[in-house]
Point group: C2
Chain length 363, copies 2
């Protein structure tokens, strides 16, 4: 069967799908990309066990058929094609890919060798893609990358009536982002942070359809369908640990604070959690660090509320800069006093976002 496709749409789609389909796997079936040609067009699908993806696009095809091909090889070939159009000639054992003066014959596998994927969800929910992307992007840094308690490597989605929250924590810091919208679903689920990254790559503008099924969240957006496997386990009762009142808080521009923290932290030793010390007194924030190469400091004027004795707290500098990264205007950094109780970052331009950072114990 001969199928004619514009090179650009095939290459762009394969680039997204290829990220998920592993190029090496102990299970060789996982490296296969399934190709289904129907009267509606062409579908490419694959999985890495945590995320299933299917991309669909219109093609001129004279019939129906199902095939499987090694995903990363197909992608590489399509990326390198010289022409603007691609002709795929799908046979029993081989697919001939022709474009301009170039042609290649790739071995085809039986479609039954590829993972069996189910994209037949009934979508009972929906949300705006840009909003969902903003919420997930704002919090995913706070999930753990280490092989720690599993739920710390996930992003929790609280789907409630009239609101939705994305929240992540690794036990030392936390971030949440609230959307004041109903998705139409009522549930709480935990999605692995790595799957959130893959979802973010396909989100653009428009609507995202959502469906909750046992053990997976199904998402449809534009030409893409994804099944995200959910994590088991109980997410910590985080609300309880977020302080509500603060003796002292400071307001300043997020970027300026983040740059100063990063700069001062250059002198911090990695062995001491990249420790930086913050001192707040009389409308001035002083940031210091020291390590085996020397010591550094920077002082910034701030708008200070509260007049406690001088605040003196130590932080992992990376946790502070991460917490500031989703904000682009002024932020308020609120201290629970000079002890190791958590500090809180709020974005004055976007009150949907809150981050909490636990100071380092210094004594």
């Amino acid at each position: 069967m001969k199928v004619l496709v514009p090179k650009k749409s095939l290459a762009d789609t394969l680039a997204r799908v290829e990220r998920i389909v592993p190029s090496r796997s102990s299970n060789p079936g996982l490296s296969l990309l399934r190709i289904d040609v129907t009267e509606d067009g062409m579908e490419l699908s694959g999985s890495n066990m945590d995320v299933d993806i299917r991309a669909r696009f219109a093609v001129d095809a004279p019939g129906r058929g199902s095939y499987a091909v090694v995903g990363h090889v197909f992608s590489q070939v399509v990326r390198a094609l010289p022409g603007e159009d691609v002709q795929l000639d799908l046979g029993d054992d081989e697919m001939q890919i022709s474009s301009g003066s170039y042609s290649t014959k790739l071995q085809l596998m039986s479609p039954s060798s590829a993972p069996v994927l189910n994209f037949g969800a009934q979508f009972g929910g929906s949300i705006d893609a840009a909003q969902l992307a903003r919420a997930l992007s704002a919090v995913k840094y706070a999930a753990s990358v280490a092989d720690f308690q599993a739920v710390f490597r996930g992003v929790k989605l609280e789907l409630a009536d009239g609101r939705m929250r994305a929240v992540a924590t690794d036990g030392f810091r936390l971030a949440y982002y609230d959307l004041k919208e109903s998705t139409g679903l009522l549930s709480e689920v935990i999605v692995p942070a790595r799957s959130v990254d893959e979802l973010l790559r396909v989100l653009s503008d428009g609507e995202v359809k959502l469906a909750l099924e046992p053990a997976q969240l199904s998402v449809q957006h534009g030409n893409y369908s994804l099944n995200l496997k959910l994590m088991d386990g109980t997410f910590p009762d985080y609300e309880r640990v977020i302080p509500k009142t603060f003796p002292v808080s400071i307001t300043l521009e997020a970027g300026r604070l983040a740059e100063a923290v990063a700069r001062v932290a250059l002198m911090a030793d990695k062995t001491t959690n990249n420790r930086v010390d913050l001192f707040v007194k009389g409308g001035e924030l002083r940031i210091t660090a020291e390590g085996s190469f020397g010591r550094s400091q920077e002082a910034l004027p701030v708008l200070q509320e509260g007049t406690d004795p001088e605040i003196a707290l130590a932080y992992n500098s990376k946790y502070l800069t991460d917490a500031l990264s989703p904000a682009d205007g002024e932020v308020r950094l609120s201290f629970s006093g000079s002890n190791s109780a958590p500090s809180v970052v709020t974005d004055l331009g976007d009150n949907s976002y809150l981050a909490m950072v636990v100071p380092l114990r210094t004594s």
Copy 2:
């Protein structure tokens, strides 16, 4: 002693010097950058044993002094500085670096802990920097990166009367580039290819001064002085193996050939040296490859000279694309006939360049 420097000139200079001064070394002295302040300005110098570098720039300084500091830390700090100017306050044990609201104190070491470097060469030779850069850039790919015979990891410079040649080979391919200029030096030296990379990074416009000393080539260009340690050993007698007559040659656009070879080679197995086969007959070049995932081919019209029976030769595709990379217009690819004698690439727009590639043995 207080020294005032524009941040940009200090940061740019450190970026170049930092590439050479190792950030980790079993010899801790090597990670030190020496700072000399004189009435002429400031000098930063360091070494990785193969390359010594010294950068000089004008500063406002009230006296003279010599210091040493851990190079990569100094660079990191300067890169992150917030202001446009930097004040360096050089004391006995510490250097305070201040810029805008930020300041840091870095430990200083005794300048005698840093490597002893000699930049006192008498420059008896010179050449245009852009020309030297063109020659070195065009040939360095052909040097070996593997732990093979040492001279194969070097670039040979033939400094003769009225001409200069840069040449590199790894035994399977070769490239040379001729300049029709006298450097004023008469010698043949071999410079490690990695040192050539460092030299290329400092070359811009203007004159390069050259000096040959026992076991090193000294170079001065703009604000930079480099000593490049030379390699011992005998460079192969390569002229002897470059064929002079060719039964068949083809002419086509270098970029088009390189792209086609790279595209076809996607199907080649790495275990067979990325083998691509070239067939030339009747004004057509056909390139084919096959491997475990499938097979590919591309046919290009060429201007053919010579009418031998069909040329059929196999190459490591990477050697072909490397050989084509310095050319940007039409190239001639000349074949010694259908056997494993070397093929030759010449750039029709720049007859200074010649590359030789040995075909793969296929039987």
